[in-house]
């Protein structure tokens, strides 16, 4: 399953009916050394384009927006002790949460890899 993006640099991937959400490598580089990730509570509802988490780096605090509508079913337990995983492996080990999507086609309307890269090149 291919990776899709929000223009605000979150990625989303469907796996076994759940949407995994993380931060793009570009954004992880831009925010710098991540020191804390405030993840949502398992069970809460998230809305596409709305803040669902918070990422704190040495430089700044940034909202994370949900790329999909749905319910949080799992959060990445490793980030509590190793927030730097977001910098080291943003596309895999640094994932934020898994969402059970409420729609049939949860990634509809998100940017493809090529579209996201084109946005970065602007």
């Amino acid at each position: 399953m291919s990776t899709r993006y929000l223009p605000t640099h979150e990625w989303a991937r469907v796996d076994n009916g759940l949407v995994t959400v993380g931060l793009s490598a570009f954004a992880a580089g831009e925010v710098g050394e991540v020191i804390h990730v405030q993840l949502p509570t398992v069970g809460v509802a998230v809305l596409k384009g709305k803040p669902c988490a918070e990422i704190e780096s040495v430089k700044s605090v940034n909202d994370i927006y949900s790329p999909v509508d749905g319910q949080v079913v799992e959060i990445n337990p490793a980030l509590a002790g190793q927030p730097e995983l977001v910098n080291q492996d943003p596309g895999n080990a640094g994932w934020f949460m898994k969402v059970k999507p409420s729609g049939a086609d949860p990634l509809a309307g998100l940017l493809s890899e090529a579209e996201y890269q084109a946005q970065l090149a602007k």
């Binding site: 710098g32 020191i35 804390h36 918070e54 704190e56 040495v58």
Partner: protein
Amino acid sequence: MHHAIAQKTALHDLQAAQGGKMIDFHGWIMPVQFAGITAEHQAVRTSAGVFDLNHMGRLHLVGPGAVAFLTRHACRAVADMKAGAVRYGLVLAEDGTVEDDILVSREGEASFHIVVNAGNKEKILDMWRSAVPAGTILTDLSASQGMIAVQGPAALHLLQSLQLDGMTLKNYAFTDVSWRGTVVRLSRTGYTGEDGCECFLPVDRVGELWTAVVEAGAVRCGLGARDTLRTEAAMPLYGNELDRTVTPVEAGLGFAINKAGGFIGDQVVLAQLTRGPAKCLVGLRMQEKRVPRTGYPVVVEGQPVGTITSGTLSPTLGAAIGMAYVPAALALPGTTLSVDLRGTLVTATVVALPFYKRAK
């Protein structure tokens, strides 16, 4: 002072080409970082780094009324300064609050060089131009004189290798050195808590000096590292620790107050010195590795008691640190407070300032 179009320093093109990530700072386009804030910070703590300070305001005051003018318009005594000496001082309002913090260098009997903050330069010029007595002349050197800082334990040796010898300078003293057909002023001062010099020279030669210093091994540093370095050293930043709501006594800068008075704001400030201030600037060390950022509330038993003025993750201590104004009763080292980090209360302990002091 806001400018419609951000200004570029004399080093802008050089820095942009060298990978500087540029941001707007008080109307100036300045590098926030080159290789990275932490790497730049460590270079200054262990070796040497170089900073563009061309945005700072540089003023010159000369004439028979110069000593009396500065004695009245800055809260630090200048009359007893020797030529070649540098002092940190503050410009106060009548109510004792801070208009600016400045660095005064005495060039001669009636001649002073004054560095003011970039964001306060126009205000200070407006206030002072109308107050300088006839026969004494205030000049804005900012456009004609360049300024960089070379900071770190290796800074003086690095400058010496470029025939810029400040090895025998005392702290807070300056000397003028001939260099490649021009004159460079080396001032053993800085804003990092580390040894080093601030260097002044004609602006058309500042790029040459920057390049020479970098080629001699100094790491290019941006405003990000400048902020983490000065925060560890607990050096105040105007707009954060200092503004029109606090006095130098509250800011812990009593050393910079002329106890004889005779300066604008002296009544308020001298009375505070005697009876002690109601609020004090304190250092906070966070129990978690989360940054207390400017404006976050400091909380005791659910009640806000103060506000964070600056905070960072200290690369040297490996802990999150911050400064805040709190009631004097809560200012003793060891006192436990909380900081409200966007809804989460995190415990912090009051610690003595500075957070970092270099070994002598």
